[in-house]
């Protein structure tokens, strides 16, 4: 039996908007639109998409760093409480170095959540910090150093330790390895897997790299132009994608196995966010698009067990 630890319903984030002094409406850009998802306890939920698809905006809303324009977030069944920012859901940033204050020592960075969220005393903090450093595989003598003295991989371990400090059970990982070299990326991915098992964590793992997501995720959502276009258990999604965009992503990823990539013929351009098309945002690039794809937006509809896609003419529809 799975329990939902985080439920998001119809999250929308719009930037801009409102009216100028003279009353003319300002342009609105919807970075995320009507995204609903559920995180089950103990799973890793992957979100895949290319730049500009809204995946980071979504992640920031889920931990409370940014307020949704519309929609609700419930954590463990209760509406999200802004006063609990950081206590229930934590965040690991893409750029490990810029997420650490250059003027604070590692100790000071790790102490902050223990003081402000856990209200631990001095001795308890010291013990907990040593425990965290050990958990992420860093030597205790790093504690008195400053962030610029660390490599990207080490800095990301510090960022992970900071996220673990508050004992939040939900961790949103926003491209946690994309700034890292492949050998360091492997170290961090392994560390994340170990920590998840050790502390019973639930991950939302955001990445542009399908292969990384496949390696870590139980379920995967694919985002395009601010919306989820397909969602399925990882093995199903990678084996039998229904949405042509998922197919294109899979075909485009170059693999070490030497499989030839298939780039698609249409120019890879996103629609103008200031004038979004009325129909499917992917239609212009889609080899299977028909007239009605451009006329109305396909809803995210169930296509099989736990599998849904937003496409009028899905691929592999027979199975």
């Amino acid at each position: 039996m799975t329990t939902a630890v985080l439920e998001a319903e119809e999250l929308t984030k719009a930037f801009g908007g409102g009216r100028s002094l003279l009353g003319a409406p300002k342009p609105v850009i919807h970075a995320v639109q009507d995204v609903s998802l559920t995180l089950n306890e103990g799973e890793t939920f992957g979100v895949v998409g290319e730049s500009g698809c809204g995946k980071s905006t979504l992640a920031r809303m889920l931990v409370g760093l940014s307020t949704p324009t519309r929609g609700t977030i419930r954590i463990a069944g209760k509406p999200f409480d802004r006063h609990l920012l950081g206590a229930t859901a934590q965040y690991v940033f893409q750029d490990p170095v810029s997420s650490l204050n250059p003027r604070h020592t590692v100790r000071r960075i790790l102490e902050a959540p223990l003081i402000h969220l856990k209200r631990l005393g001095r001795d308890a903090r010291a013990a907990r910090i040593n425990y965290l450093m050990d958990a992420v595989g860093l030597r205790p003598d790093f504690l008195e150093r400053y962030p610029h003295e660390f490599s990207g991989g080490q800095a990301q371990r510090i960022g992970i330790a900071r996220a673990l400090a508050a004992e939040a059970r939900i961790i949103v990982l926003d491209e946690p390895v994309s700034a890292l070299d492949v050998s360091v990326q492997a170290q961090i991915l392994n560390l994340l897997a170990d920590l998840k098992a050790r502390f019973g964590l639930t991950y939302l793992f955001i990445s542009h790299d399908l292969a990384v997501v496949e390696a870590v995720a139980d379920r995967v959502a694919v985002m395009y132009f601010g919306r989820i276009v397909e969602e399925a258990p990882a093995d199903r999604l990678f084996a039998h994608p229904h949405h042509p965009y998922t197919r294109l992503l899979l075909d485009s990823a170059p693999a070490i196995t030497g499989k030839r990539i298939d780039a698609g013929e249409q120019p890879a351009e996103l629609p103008d966010p200031l004038a979004p098309p009325p129909g499917c945002a992917f239609a212009e690039r889609c080899p299977h698009a028909r007239a009605d794809c451009r006329a109305r937006r396909p809803p995210l509809a169930p296509m099989g067990p736990y599998h849904s896609a937003a496409c009028l003419y899905p691929l592999n529809a027979t199975d």
């Binding site: 965040y91 003027r103 959540p113 610029h148 508050a166 492997a186 399908l210 390696a215």
Partner: protein
């Protein structure tokens, strides 16, 4: 992986106060400024204790004595007052007023700036509109207006000068604050449960403080000049009290017959302001991370070449390009970073050679060294040869090399947004590339540019030629980059991570295009990348780099399927492969060695499970392990049979 230097010094080292002081003192001009300023301040402080004439005691009998008169070292003014005494008391006053005005302006301006920058939104907007309004006045008009309201007087001048400078501080500090507030560590602090005030005090303020100090140190001299100016106009200190400005103002009327009465106070003002400015520049250089380590040194037209060895091998006759023991270093002060160490490779006609490695492996520096494009300083090519059909590019003059660049060897760079000039249309930039090597009318070159854009499959090439780079998508921009490289049908193209900045679907199209074009035109490509997947798509052969050396080379399929060097093996095991489901990775423990502290032996030995004493003893040579395959390992994993 992003910039040419590869080993740029850490972008933002927080300078501990002590090292900042040391940096200031090491700067000779700043130290001189500090000494002069400290002496003047000291003299001003002890002035009341010195045996001087009373500054305001008039003696009409001794009017306008020249300097070095008896009892009046610097002479007297029109009322017979001792100029030395008046100068010292005036200096005291000018310094006090100038420095107070600076502190007042800095305090109020910083508070406004930080509040506006931190709060953002409407508060920010309102505050900055007000500041803009104040800045719409030429500063002295505002000062004059304030003095007009308050009436002339030194204290009023101080207030006027302080108010006039508040907008300047507010703007600067707001800019710095906005830069900090949008950094991720502020989000991290919020997630650590810190309240807004605590974040302001503990996270924002310490990072803004250097900017405040820099702004103060660069404006205090200016403030002293301004208060002196108001006094000079008679709107500051009122007789008999005199600061340096009003002394100068009074002396002006005696310019013809007693010039010393005016030029002495002016000289003192000049000395004070000059010493402050010297010191201020030193402070700025010490606190601004961008200016450290000569970061603003102008790169020379070609990399400095200081070769101790000239390579050994004879060039293979059939290879258009062969690189022989190329060694490139970054010399930062007494520290030498060995970015590229004795790299040898050759590129056959129409061949695509991939150079793969992680950040800091020296792959990009190798690519840039070929046409001496490594920024210099700090880059130096310290050895080896780059042979283009047997002639050494590194022995050419900058003028001769210019003719090779873009005609025989062309480049495609990583991020097309920063590598295309933002203020020229893409058509203009293509025309320039064409006309750099071919005598062609502008119109003909423009037609050629449009043809090139069409060649790289940019829709509506005629229209797009008139677009600026920022008006194109990332994929389109990189197509322009490719078109530019093809402009003169070069024999060799060096592509330095050309698809790294692109999304995967765009990357696929760009790779497709490159592969097709190079085959059609029989162009040799040196393809730099960190991505094994990309290598398999486009490269015939691959060279793996680690710590500035090539550790393995061979045909792509063979190297990837059956790697010989343990590093290659382990690196491939780290790569996530689509279609292999959930998995753990066989990660490589540890980190590569620092480029300024390379070990004598195999650089990978510390991370290699198979390493023993022989690996660490000394340099390992490249061994031929099979036809066309080499590895830099004493016990390679493959090809030994």
């Amino acid at each position: 992986m992003t910039s040419a230097a590869g080993i740029a010094p850490p972008a933002e080292a927080p300078p501990p106060a002590r090292s900042a002081w040391r940096l200031i003192l090491r700067n000779r001009l700043a130290a001189a400024g500090l000494v002069v300023l400290a002496s003047i301040i000291l003299l001003a402080l002890v002035t009341p204790l010195l045996p001087l004439h009373p500054p305001n005691a008039t003696a009409p009998a001794n009017r306008l004595l020249p300097p070095f008169s008896d009892g009046h070292l610097l002479g007297t003014d029109h009322l017979g007052r001792d100029i030395l005494a008046r100068l010292m008391w005036g200096t005291r006053l000018s310094l006090a007023v100038g420095i107070s005005a600076t502190f007042i302006a800095a305090l109020i301006g910083s508070v406004i700036g930080i509040l506006a920058g931190y709060t953002g939104g409407r508060t920010d907007n309102t505050m900055m509109r007000g500041i803009d309004m104040l800045m719409a006045f030429p500063y002295i008009l505002l000062a004059l207006a304030i003095v007009a309201v308050l009436g002339p007087g030194l204290f009023n001048a101080l207030i006027a000068v302080a108010i006039v400078n508040i907008p300047f501080f507010a703007r600067n500090i707001r800019g710095a604050t906005v830069g900090i507030v949008h950094r991720e560590f502020i989000d991290a602090a919020r997630l650590s449960g810190k309240g807004r005030l605590r974040i302001l005090a503990a996270d924002v303020l310490p990072n803004v403080l250097p900017v405040i100090v820099i702004t103060m140190s660069t404006t205090v001299g200016w403030m002293i000049l301004e208060t002196a100016g108001l006094s000079f106009l008679g709107l500051g200190s009122q007789p008999p009290q005199a600061d340096l400005g009003s002394m100068l103002g009074e002396g002006r009327r005696l310019l013809m017959n007693a010039p010393h009465v005016s030029y002495l106070p002016g000289l003192v003002i000049f000395l004070i302001v000059m010493s402050i400015n010297l010191l201020g520049d030193g402070v700025r250089d010490a606190l601004d991370p961008r200016l450290r380590a000569g970061a603003l040194a102008r790169p020379a037209p070609m990399t400095a070449i200081d070769r101790t060895d000239m390579g050994t091998d004879v060039a293979p006759v059939d290879a258009p390009l062969s690189v022989d023991h190329l060694t490139t270093q970054f010399r930062l002060g007494s520290d030498t970073h060995h970015a590229v160490n004795e790299v040898s490779l050759s590129l056959g006609r129409g061949e695509c050679l991939g150079v793969i490695g992680e950040s800091g492996s020296g792959k990009s520096v190798t690519a840039l060294s070929l046409a001496a494009l490594v920024a210099s300083p700090p880059g130096v090519i310290a050895g080896g040869r780059v042979l283009l059909h047997g002639s050494d590019l590194l022995s050419k003059s900058a003028r001769e090399l210019r003719k090779v660049r873009g005609r025989d060897v062309a480049y495609i760079f990583q991020d097309p947004l920063s590598t295309l000039h933002p203020q020229f249309t893409v058509g203009d930039q293509l025309v320039e590339a064409i006309r750099a090597h071919r005598h062609m009318s502008r119109a003909a070159a423009w037609a050629e540019a449009v043809r090139l854009l069409d060649l790289v499959r940019i829709p509506n090439p005629r229209g797009r030629a008139r677009a600026y780079p920022h008006e194109l998508s990332g994929g389109m921009r990189q197509r322009v980059g490719i078109a530019m490289a093809l402009a003169n049908a070069p024999e060799i193209i060096v592509a330095d991570e050309p698809t790294t900045a692109l999304d995967v679907t765009v990357q696929a199209q760009v790779l497709d295009l490159m592969d097709e074009l190079r085959r059609d035109r029989d162009t040799a490509v040196l393809f730099i990348t960190h991505d094994f997947g990309v290598v398999t798509q486009i490269c015939d052969r691959v060279a793996v780099m680690y710590a500035g050396r090539i550790v393995e080379t061979g045909p792509t399929r063979q190297v990837l399927e059956d790697p010989a060097h343990p590093y290659t093996r382990k690196l491939i095991d780290c790569v996530p492969v689509l279609g292999s489901g959930r998995r753990r990775f066989d990660a490589i423990s540890g980190l590569p060695p620092a480029a300024n502290r390379l070990p004598r032996g195999c650089a990978f030995a510390e991370r290699c499970e198979l390493a023993d004493a022989a690996c660490r003893a000394g340099p390992i040579a490249m061994h031929e392990i099979a036809a066309g395959r080499q590895a830099r390992c004493v016990r390679p994993l493959a090809g030994t049979s």
